[in-house]
């Protein structure tokens, strides 16, 4: 059963966190290194997705760990260490994104569905013989799904990553990016529609 396993894993993670936190707080030798080695790889994966530049992603991870070391005494242990570190690297990555020279927003209208004058879709969709979610969950589809996300224009990709992948709420994304919550929702919807179009050839029928 999934729930008890999850609960056991969560409990073990919390126990491991508690030991590591004690070591970090008393400055035990090797504790910082253990933190970096335990969580660094995943944090770099998150930063790479958001920033796309390897150099910026590495800078973000370094800055995130230095922030974490500095604030370790404020960490109250309500969340898992992994969750806390994840939020820090997302925030640092967003600061880096904001500091970049703003690019003009690319249109993704060509990836949105078209409609006839009577309001019906211009295209017929085919659900195929296998449910779409099961088809896209196959191992061999993972590279294509990741590539499709990377193919989205930056303004849309960032919001899709923050909302759907990194689990940041609409209001917080709006505040971090300096746009309205409605703009976040609209861009997220368009990004998902564009992603569907990009993956359409794998969903049973060629896309538009």
């Amino acid at each position: 059963m999934a729930a008890p396993q999850q609960s056991t894993a969560d409990s073990e993670a919390r126990q491991a966190d508690a030991v590591l936190l004690d070591d970090l707080r008393v400055g035990r030798a090797g504790a910082y290194e253990k933190l970096v080695r335990s969580y660094g790889g995943r944090l770099l994966a998150v930063a790479r997705r958001l920033l796309t530049s390897e150099e910026d992603a590495r800078d973000a991870v370094q800055e995130a760990f230095l922030n974490a070391f500095k604030n370790i005494h404020r960490f109250e242990g309500q969340a898992l260490l992994s969750t806390w570190l994840h939020r820090i690297v997302v925030n640092v990555s967003l600061m880096k994104l904001r500091s970049r020279k703003r690019k003009p927003e690319e249109s993704l209208d060509h990836l949105l569905p078209a409609f006839r004058d009577d309001g019906h879709f211009a295209e017929r969709f085919d659900s195929g013989s296998e449910p779409a979610d099961e088809r896209l969950a196959r191992e061999e589809e993972q590279t294509a799904v990741r590539a499709a996300i990377d193919d989205l224009p930056e303004h849309y990709r960032t919001i899709l990553l923050l909302r759907d992948i990194e689990g940041i709420g609409t209001q917080e994304v709006a505040e971090q990016l300096g746009i309205t919550p409605n703009a976040v929702k609209l861009r997220l919807h368009r990004a998902r529609q564009a992603l569907r179009t990009l993956l359409a050839p794998r969903l049973g029928r060629p896309g538009r």
């Binding site: 991870v61 779409a132 998902r192």
Partner: protein
């Protein structure tokens, strides 16, 4: 009850999936969905790509290589200098 077009339904997909549609709009949406196979298929695919992105990125996190050694060293050196 308002009769919705496919175009209107497509605009409501995100709010429908997040449970944010008002009751009346939701009812109209579901009536349209019952009658429109094309919209049911589009909704299925829209939901599938959200899940697919989450699955692919979760796998990417799980399989992330260890941090490059030079970056581990750089972080620990930077910490010592603080």
């Amino acid at each position: 009850m308002t009769k919705l077009t496919c175009r209107a339904c497509a605009e409501f997909l995100a709010d429908y999936l997040s449970g944010e549609l008002e009751i009346e709009v939701r009812a109209s949406f579901e009536v349209h969905l019952d009658r429109c196979r094309n919209c049911r298929c589009y909704l299925e695919q829209y939901a599938a790509v959200i899940k697919a992105g989450q699955t692919a990125c979760a796998r990417e996190n799980e399989r992330a290589a260890p941090l490059p050694e030079e970056l581990v060293r750089a972080i620990l050196e930077a910490q010592k200098l603080r």
